[in-house]
Symmetry: C2
Subunit: 238 residues, 2 copies
């Protein structure tokens, strides 16, 4: 629970795409380091990303990396900023808030799906970059014209991005293995059954859900959230 202010050098994070003229072809650059790290994280998970490992992939000693990033925390922050990509502009989409936010959610989910380590890496105390904030800005813009208050819009966006994070986290790791018995270890299913009727609601629900789409509740949750927002918006309009 350290103060976020302790983290070093937010400068690089926020100046990422405003680098000055000098463009000399350097053997080692921030981009190469970040991309190497993202490659490792995509393939082997964020916990496989160590300075040594990244350096080895670039045929360089780990201390060389510190000439370009000031700490591992900064490296991870820039990894996240790079992985989430440029936020989309959904303001041109017609039909009101709903198609706009649906499109936004679809794009965000697609982006996060490419980098299964994002839910883990973005949990906890950390610095946040402009692109990440840009995604929030983009989502908030979808609610322009609705009767929702500022606080409500923020909460709505938080709710939606949280849902994306949760479903992606569950996909990346076996966070809720009971949601999909096919993925659950036989051991666990066995344990459940061994406890008799203590878990009868789970067992019957899982039994009933054998043909459900393996999306960790993404579509279901999104629909429920949007329905809930729709109800509030209609109520406030009346």
């Amino acid at each position: 629970m350290t103060d976020t202010g302790d983290q070093k050098n937010l400068g690089l994070l926020w100046a990422l795409h405003a680098r000055p003229t000098r463009e000399a072809r350097l053997v080692l650059t921030v981009d190469r380091i970040v991309n190497a790290a993202i490659d490792i994280a995509d393939g082997e998970g964020i916990e496989a990303v160590s300075m040594q490992r990244v350096a080895a992939n670039l045929d360089v000693t780990k201390m060389a990396l510190y000439r370009h990033v000031s700490s591992k925390a900064e490296l991870v922050a820039v990894m996240i900023e790079t992985a989430v990509g440029e936020p989309p502009d959904v303001t041109h989409i017609r039909g009101g808030w709903r198609p706009r936010i649906e499109r936004w959610a679809e794009l965000m989910r697609a982006t996060w799906q490419k980098h299964p380590w994002l839910p883990t890496a973005t949990t906890g105390d950390r610095a946040i970059g402009p692109r990440e904030i840009g995604w929030t800005e983009s989502a908030l813009s979808a609610f322009a014209g609705t009767p929702l208050s500022g606080a409500e819009r923020i909460d709505a966006v938080f709710l939606l991005s949280g849902h994306i994070r949760n479903t992606q986290a569950a996909a990346g790791a076996g966070t809720q293995p009971w949601t999909d018995e096919r993925r659950a270890r036989p051991e666990l299913a066995e344990l459940l059954r061994g406890h008799g009727d203590r878990f009868r609601h789970i067992l019957s629900a899982v039994n009933d859900a054998h043909d459900a789409p393996p999306d960790n509740g993404w579509a279901f949750g999104l629909d429920r959230i949007l329905a809930g927002l729709d109800q509030l918006i209609k109520e406030k309009r009346a």
Copy 2:
């Protein structure tokens, strides 16, 4: 992304409250270890929990701990299992699914609030214990009698527990500092303003939200989710 099956010794986790007769007064016990670890995590965050640190708090060498827990992963698993506590029984609550699930959510949130490290500790690949499963069972029982399918019930519970996790995670760390400008570092607010109208929706929303309750969208999200579920249930009943 290691296979969960790699983790050692699920035996202890699942036998936690079925320990046999032999109850000799031992200096060092699993309970003392786990409680010491939880104390540290509650006070200083989960990242402060190392085997050395726990051992020091018990005036013992770290290797002594390994006589009682087989690995740090197991210790953390039992910490979680202990921290979440016994799941509640909400089946006796009258008035249908809604008061039952509301009560469940309230209890779960209260429990998680006592241990701000739970969101972090329960993210990623890990083993899950019977109590944690029991909370899911408890939530699922609230939907007994509704027209929701098994898959829908599971998704609904996942959606709700995800919301609790998200709001708690945001409370424990500065995950979404823009949600509450009072907590945001002045530096960040300054950066936002410095970008002109690039973040105008955020700035105006935050400006408008200065008197919002600092619950990270808990009440708002819960209401929206329940409204969304209500709509689906009514629709399926018709």
